[in-house]
Symmetry: C2
Subunit: 417 residues, 2 copies
């Protein structure tokens, strides 16, 4: 008997009518002979409503109390889902995080799952029941409710797929699957039938919003097959799985872009050991996460009049929201460090190409740079990994760059395997 995990997000359970619709879907899978475990988020808007109440009660709410409060959102949606299944005549039981055996550490607001004891779920599945589990929540060793942070319900679904050795973890959302690029930017974007974990991780962190990185990592570590699909459509979506020969034959499989970053550059920083660490520790202390880091090769001695010794230019990118803060910190520190000047630019975009086939294909970067050059787009930073190349460009060119790269790598063809 196949075992399926189905996860539905908040917009798929926003009201009773929609809850009934997804209950029908779960019940249909059950009646086709599968063991079905459903994971739900809170009804859309509910988490925000609760956060609003919390902030009204206390400007800086205690994370333990906030977790207990927010977890009522999922508790409500799973009970209503179970009742909707009952109305369809199906045997069903709802489970809170702790009832499903989900044990976490005690870092409230972003707890990590330590262990899942799925004994009770297995018993109920064996009795022929649909099981519906509150996403996003667990219990720590004190018996307190914890929440898993952003994307937590995806994490719950994948972790349960691991614990229950499920055949597939279906992530239902409001898009048809994972696309070769953002369909809002590029008409010829194609839904992918398959994507491998590494590609999905790069796509997630580079701006594709369908799945959170943490749950993809978890799925990769345990080899859980994920099927990303539309909650109100019967068509097949995208499978996230191990890489295969098909994927490796294609050098580039997706193009992403992000306009939520900003660049800071320190010009003519004295080039001695530890200077990069000094610069980055200042932003790290302020809780700012740095993405790309570029340090140019130093000028050889003598090329600069005055013989001031070695120096280098140092650039990094930060989230746009942290730009002003990071720039102020660097301007203050720049003098001490001895930088000639501190520049900032929040008028940038990052475009990236991703594909596991890049490992075996030469010349991919050349095709990328030529495609951008052809459109007159200048590159201000470049960064590479084994399976991706990212370029920082002027923000106004972001969409044009995406279309140019999507075309150059022939991603707009017939459906892409």
């Amino acid at each position: 008997m196949p075992r399926i995990i189905q996860k539905y997000g908040g917009s798929s359970v926003a009201n009773i009518e929609l809850i009934r619709a997804v209950a029908r879907r779960a019940v249909a899978a059950k009646r086709e002979g599968a063991d079905v475990v459903v994971v739900l988020s809170a009804m859309r808007g509910e988490t925000d409503r609760l956060i609003g109440l919390a902030n009204e009660a206390c400007p800086d709410p205690d994370p333990r109390e906030l977790d207990s409060l927010l977890s009522t959102g999922e508790q409500t949606s799973v009970a209503l889902f179970a009742l909707a299944c009952q109305a369809l005549g199906e045997k069903v039981k709802s489970f809170l995080g702790h009832q499903a055996g989900i044990k976490t550490d005690d870092v409230h607001g972003k707890a990590r799952i330590l262990e899942i004891n799925p004994a009770r779920l297995k018993t109920e599945l064996a009795k022929g029941r649909v099981c519906v589990v509150a996403g996003f929540q667990g219990q720590d060793r004190h018996g307190d409710v914890t929440t898993l942070g952003r994307g937590g319900s995806d994490t719950t679904a994948v972790a349960l797929a691991v614990a229950l050795e499920a055949d597939v973890c279906e992530i239902y959302t409001d898009v048809e699957g994972i696309y070769t690029t953002d369909p809002h930017v590029c008409d010829s974007a194609q839904k992918m039938d398959k994507i491998c974990y590494e590609e999905m991780l790069e796509m997630s962190s580079l701006g594709a919003k369908v799945m959170e990185i943490r749950s993809v990592e978890l799925a990769m570590n345990y080899g859980v097959r994920i099927h990303v699909r539309h909650a109100h459509s019967q068509s097949t979506g995208t499978i996230i799985c191990e890489e295969d020969a098909d994927m490796e034959r294609t050098p580039v499989r997706g193009v992403t872009h992000s306009v939520n970053e900003a660049r800071i550059t320190l010009l003519k920083v004295p080039d001695h050991p530890g200077v990069a660490a000094t610069i980055l520790s200042i932003v790290a202390k302020a809780g700012i996460i740095v993405d790309m880091i570029i340090q140019n090769h130093s000028e050889p001695p003598g090329t600069d009049a005055g013989g001031e010794g070695l120096w280098t230019d140092f650039s990094f990118t930060v989230p746009a929201a942290d730009y002003e803060n990071a720039l102020d910190l660097m301007r203050a520190a720049g003098r001490e460090i001895g930088a000639a000047e501190v520049l900032g630019d929040n008028n940038i975009a990052k475009v990236s190409i991703v594909g596991v086939g890049m490992r075996n294909h030469a010349g991919v970067a050349t095709v990328m740079f030529q495609a951008l050059a052809k459109e007159g787009i200048n590159l201000s930073m470049i960064s590479t990994s084994e399976i991706k190349i990212s370029c920082v460009i002027e923000k106004k060119y972001a969409e044009l760059a995406v279309r140019a790269l999507h075309g150059a790598f022939k991603l707009g063809g017939p459906i892409h395997g």
Copy 2:
């Protein structure tokens, strides 16, 4: 250090502003040196909202799922209360039923508390924290959420008072305390300073709405002092405690009335063993709860022409909502039983006088019947217990009867001990 349980109902925590007000009250008690454990109901309206959603999802909701759903109401109010205490600078922790160690049977919707393990509450109190516990809920041996039924938060408060050996259990409500009679009916109604458990039980079951019977019984069994008082007033309310000499000196301490009952009478029922059981088992099978039962002494043989043997008239009262159903059942059964006629009357009221002093005072019934006769009120049924006398009268006389009895027993004097 005194240990106080404070229970606030839904209208006292209906919004954040009110939650802040009761948080201030709890924090004030804490700062005066008490150990404080607060028990809360759901915010007013929340339970009804959740029941509405449940009924929308399923016309006949599974009680286990309903319990999990409804328990979110109290989970929300205790978290918000804790945050309001935090904003006042007080150390505080919220507890769900299971976190407070409240173990129940698995009768969803009206679970009974089996055991309380207050170890965690004691630890947190010892650390100087205010503890706030979700009322109305517990956990059964399966790890499932249960609810305690109507008045469940009062039960939680009293049970915690027992488990924690509290000095007093304060029940905060929207009235000043327990009155000698309904102040809406009788201007001269007096707030009582004290009432004993037995009197309170009779008052509760006879129509006074302040506290549920089950929590009063629990308090009586364990000798918990209850203080019923107004949530937004500093004045002393009514203490519910063991009876004392003061109470015994007064023959009648309260007058209650109920207009939510109806009477069924079977005329000339053959008087042989088992007939009462036959009649009552019919209504019991329909789930109808019978209150008063009166069987008149049989007529001696020979007084009735035809020598049909012994017969009797048999009357009982049922809740008004069950009147039509009970009447139909009796009309159907009456023929088999051999009753001459089945009569019904839903135009009745029950007025009662209550007082532990009745045990030692003769002539109380006489005073009652004379007072009613003086107002021209006819009695259609009379029933007595050790500490109360109830009369069924025509509904239109209900308020008049209450005022007549309140006056006859001089309950409208200076505040009544």
